[in-house]
Symmetry: C2
Subunit: 118 residues, 2 copies
């Protein structure tokens, strides 16, 4: 189980990506994240909704109340152009970050050797 604390800084990006294919709402997104991560990542509600506020405040998404006639009310979210641009930028940052962390965490020579000998 991966804590979102470790992904800190990527919660927003994950949400933006979930909205890239069209409008969605909180509960659904949290389910999708759980499923796509094979149960390893669960965005807690407090994290999720504060992230939505943050993203809306910065102009990356906009939202409205759905007009569900049955069941619980839902608030829908949608990417703005700015949000789409931000998603692109942050995906590139992820690529860089991944490469750098791979380099920085590369196994020690001794460890590699052990594995080669195994």
């Amino acid at each position: 189980m991966i804590s979102a604390d470790i992904l800190r800084g990527y919660t927003d990006t994950i949400l933006l990506r979930r909205l890239a294919d069209g409008p969605s709402y909180g509960y659904r997104i949290s389910q999708e994240v759980r499923e796509l991560s094979g149960g390893a990542l669960e965005l807690k509600e407090a994290t999720l909704y504060t992230a939505f506020r943050r993203l809306e405040g910065s102009g990356a998404i906009r939202s409205w109340w759905g007009d569900e006639e049955r069941g619980a009310r839902r608030r829908y979210y949608e990417l703005t152009d700015q949000g789409r641009a931000r998603l692109r930028a942050e995906c590139e940052t992820w690529t860089d970050t991944r490469r750098i962390l791979d380099t920085l965490l590369q196994e020690a020579a001794a460890q590699r050797q052990e594995e080669e000998e195994a």
Copy 2:
């Protein structure tokens, strides 16, 4: 330039890895990180030294003052067995995290199509 905020949660792992090949000290490690990351990541001093305190407090590293006869004094750090175990565990967590984020940030079908057509 990648903010360490984005790597938050990996500062400790990076430091543990820097100590995996033998004892070292703060200033040198911060230089190594800068070089290995191609200048993209700079561990700020405050971040560095609070991380050392944290790691020593949790028993992952131990430290001592060097006996430099010239130049500024240095505090050396070294992995404990516990630290070595923690490094292994956290490298595995990184592998998982990387895979999960890759999945979660995978480009949208529409975007992929655009690229294929390009």
